[in-house]
């Protein structure tokens, strides 16, 4: 990849980080944080984005960032009051800035009108007369090595014939302290025209009296051409106060007459400045006595005590970050794959050795055990590399909440807990959409309007708590709101109207809550700007399930609701039950299995269309013959001893799977099939077992769909 393109790509990654800290800082300010470090960090974030963007010519972004930065500069210099309205505006500006970055990165159009109106609002905050003039940083490079000095004798510009300019240059002893050196000042001058230099060493004392740190040399420079005074003085801009410069202009003659006052002993250095190296070094040599006796030091040493002491870390700051490395996700995926292979290989080795009867030897057995342990540890470590804190995801939700609140006219406070909880990166990405939808739902349907809330004695601001924790080997993400809770009668009514539930069904509260997840259920009666986009909670649920997760609801009318998502810690490994069907080995996800039974043929009842059901805990449950389902056999089996797995879907639907035998329970490494085979009905993925054979991993949700479709039933009972 071309290096500039690489840097640009990494710039956008950096922008992501900067936008994150920008939002974090603004939220802290909103919470009343008064630490100057916070507002400075906010300023720097915008400043850095602007700086980088300028390098890539991203003008619209630079333009907006510049305006934003200007206002922030006023704020951090205490010239602008940080009212809550101001911070709210800053948050909005941060969103617009983020949009600009996304527009540049993804090459999508930007809502320029919104950007402009936000700029107008920002500038309205500025004190009168401060609205930015056209001080855009347009200069590509503006090297001004020295600055303009002082007493200029009145110059005579009248002579159009002037061909040479004479400059006398007397550095002060302090000149080298700013890293300036006559030599390169002359070189810089040379960019204006040919320079010849004449040294006046008349002030050099005898060697015995020579103080190397004193400046005793003086030069007369002859500059050809007719640069303006401004141009000349620009060269000396930064040496201002550290040298004396005077300019006189002479006409015509190529050689300027030597200046008066140059005694004998003047060395004519001529245009070759290389001989300057023979002169005593003006910058102090490293082994000089360094101390305060030197007059130069007294003049230039800044008061060290003025440097502000290190700021104590305020409590809100994130933990100090350890050194990090950026790694391509591809490389990690490859590593994950290889580790998966390692696990499989290790299992195969164990198996082979067992078959050879070797593993009864203590040495081999313990060696294998250690190998297994190590492999598991490596696997855990590698999977944890892909694990990332949910914080950026939660921060995105913060913006969603703001937008949703604005769109619905509600007041919402979002609190987050467990931001540093880590989840696999892919899971985080695939959680974004479902989470967004649930948050919008919470704001739209869960929370009451501020007036209503005030009426019933709640705070005007609705509260949403977004929490992530690790619980019994899984990651749990909860969205809790203190709104009205699920309106169960309404939900039941809608479900009945849509034919999702028989009219006389008696459902528990939990079952009613689950109705929300049914396909086709959406509170279409209250289509709002947000949630009424045709995306129902069933899509959310399927997305969670695709991640190997589960979703559930708890709700209390008048108090609020909690939506809980439980996710596996890693994607690549599954706890499975190894089963056998027609000599084929398959894997059923343990999480989906509620129980297993051995039934006699009598327990199985046949309905028409060849569908069969099984009696289980008071209801009839559709039975799926895996053998026929997968085409391993054409005839349904009627063994006297049927092994049946009861699988449950998230809705609590139970169905039964008829298999030949259950072999064992194991952790298996998931190998995806989608890339090679696309969608395979009833199959989620595959794995390689210890004996080297491939086993398909079942997809319970898909199987349920097929089973219930075949049986023509929607809900058991």
């Amino acid at each position: 990849m071309d290096p500039m393109a690489e840097i640009k790509a990494s710039f956008f990654v950096e922008c992501g980080d900067l936008l994150e800290s920008l939002e974090e800082g603004l939220l802290q300010l909103q919470d009343g944080d008064e630490d100057p470090d916070t507002i400075n960090a906010v300023f720097r974030a915008v400043h850095s984005i602007k700086g980088g963007a300028g390098a890539f010519g991203l003008d619209a972004l630079v333009h907006f960032a510049h305006r934003f930065e200007t206002v922030l500069d006023e704020a951090r210099s205490d010239r602008l009051e940080m009212t809550s309205d101001a911070v709210r505006l800053f948050l909005k500006a941060a969103d617009v800035l983020s949009d600009h970055v996304a527009a540049c990165r993804d090459d999508v159009p930007m809502d320029q009108a919104k950007s402009d109106s936000t700029i107008a609002e920002l500038e309205a905050l500025l004190p009168e007369g401060l609205v930015e003039s056209t001080q855009e940083e347009d200069d590509a490079v503006d090297f001004t090595p020295a600055s303009l000095s002082l007493d200029l004798p009145p110059l005579d510009d009248a002579g159009a014939d002037d061909l040479t300019t004479t400059i006398t240059f007397t550095p002060h002893a302090t000149l080298p302290d700013s890293g300036n050196e006559p030599l390169f000042l002359f070189r810089a001058l040379a960019s204006l025209g040919a320079v010849t230099a004449q040294l006046d060493a008349s002030a050099v004392p005898s060697l015995a009296d020579l103080d190397p740190t004193q400046s005793v040399l003086r030069w007369t420079l002859t500059l050809e051409g007719n640069p303006t005074d401004a141009e000349i003085m620009e060269v000396f801009e930064f040496a201002q106060g550290l040298c004396d410069v005077s300019i006189t202009r002479a006409g015509g003659a190529a050689d300027a007459p030597p200046l008066p006052g140059l005694p004998a002993g003047t060395e004519d250095i001529g245009p070759s400045l290389a001989s300057m190296d023979d002169l005593p070094d003006l910058p102090p040599l490293p082994d000089l006595p360094s101390d305060d006796e030197l007059p130069t030091k007294a003049a230039k040493t800044p008061q060290k005590t003025e440097t502000p002491p290190a700021q104590p870390t305020p409590k809100a700051k994130a933990p100090v970050s350890a050194p990090t490395v950026r790694v391509d996700l591809d490389r990690i995926d490859r590593l994950v794959n290889l580790v998966g292979e390692l696990v499989i290989n290790q299992a195969m080795l164990t198996q082979s050795l067992a078959e050879l009867g070797v593993s009864s030897s203590a040495a081999v057995a313990s060696g294998l055990e250690e190998l297994q342990q190590l492999t598991r540890d490596i696997q855990d470590s590698v999977m944890s590399i892909r694990a990332q804190p949910v914080k950026p995801l939660f921060q995105r939700m913060s913006r969603i909440v703001r937008e949703a609140a604005e769109a619905t006219g509600k007041k919402v406070r979002l609190e987050t807990e467990g931001e540093n909880t880590e989840i696999d990166k892919t899971v985080i990405e695939r959680l974004a959409d479902p989470l967004t939808h649930m948050i919008r739902n919470a704001v739209d349907h869960g929370l009451e309007s501020p007036e209503k809330r005030a009426e019933i004695g709640k705070s005007e601001d609705g509260n949403i708590l977004l929490r992530a924790t690790h619980r019994s080997g899984r990651v749990v993400i909860e969205i809790e709101d203190d709104g009205a809770g699920i309106n169960r009668p309404k939900v039941l009514q809608i479900a009945q109207e849509k034919g999702l539930v028989p009219h006389d069904a008696a459902l528990s509260d939990a079952e009613i809550d689950m109705l929300l997840f049914m396909p086709g259920f959406s509170t279409a009666k209250e289509v709002s700007n947000l949630s009424g986009r045709g995306v129902g909670m069933d899509v959310v649920k399927r997305a969670i399930q695709a991640l190997g997760g589960r979703i559930s609801i708890q709700s209390e009318p008048g108090k609020g609701s909690i939506f809980s998502i439980s996710l596996p810690l890693t994607l690549a490994v599954l706890d499975g039950m190894i089963i056998e069907v027609c000599g084929q080995t398959l894997v059923a996800p343990l999480a989906a299995i509620t129980e297993t039974m051995t039934l006699s043929d009598a327990d199985i009842q046949s309905l028409d269309k060849g569908t069969r059901v099984v009696h289980n805990r008071g209801t009839f449950v559709p039975l799926l013959d895996l053998g026929t389902e997968f085409g391993y056999r054409t005839e349904q089996t009627h063994d006297d001893e049927a092994v049946v797995l009861f699988l449950s879907s998230e809705e609590g639907e139970i169905y039964a799977l008829l298999v030949d035998a259950i072999l064992e329970q194991r952790q298996v490494v998931i190998k995806g099939l989608a890339d090679t085979y696309g969608y395979v009905p009833g199959v989620a993925a595959a794995t390689i077992l210890g004996d080297g054979k491939i086993a398909l991993i079942l997809d319970p949700v898909d199987l349920i769909k097929r089973a219930t479709a075949a049986a023509g039933l929607s809900l058991a009972g």
Partner: protein, 124 residues
């Protein structure tokens, strides 16, 4: 030539390195004033850098404090320090001058000009 460049923006550090690498200039990078001082110590065990480039707005220790700290050390008093920043306000330049900066480069910078500037101030 050896150059120490201090800037909190990774993008800018990358670009400086890119510009200087292609000119065969040895570059050491730091993220803020504190790191800059550490890097200086490391480099200084051999020979001090020929030029230092620094940003102004940085966390932990900003450019001005960094320059002050550098100038306070005798070893580095003669080392040219160039300020690389998007700002060009006169007050900023005055302040930079006051703490002992040698020159000022405005971002975004042209890589070739940066290199030629470095050569001018370092004589290398």
């Amino acid at each position: 030539m050896r150059v120490l460049a201090v800037d909190d923006s990774r993008t800018i550090r990358d670009m400086v390195r890119l510009a200087l690498d292609s000119a065969g200039i040895e570059t050491k990078l730091a993220e803020d004033g504190e790191q800059g001082l550490e890097a200086l110590e490391e480099m200084g065990r051999g020979a001090p850098p020929d030029v230092i480039i620094t940003d102004i707005n940085m966390p932990k220790m900003d450019g001005f404090s960094f320059i002050e700290a550098v100038r306070a050390k005798d070893r580095y008093r003669g080392v040219p320090i160039l300020v690389l920043t998007t700002e060009s306000a006169p007050e900023m330049k005055d302040k930079a001058r006051a703490v002992g900066a040698t020159g000022w480069i405005v971002k975004p910078f042209d890589p070739e000009k940066l290199v030629s500037t470095l050569r001018v101030v370092s004589g290398g």
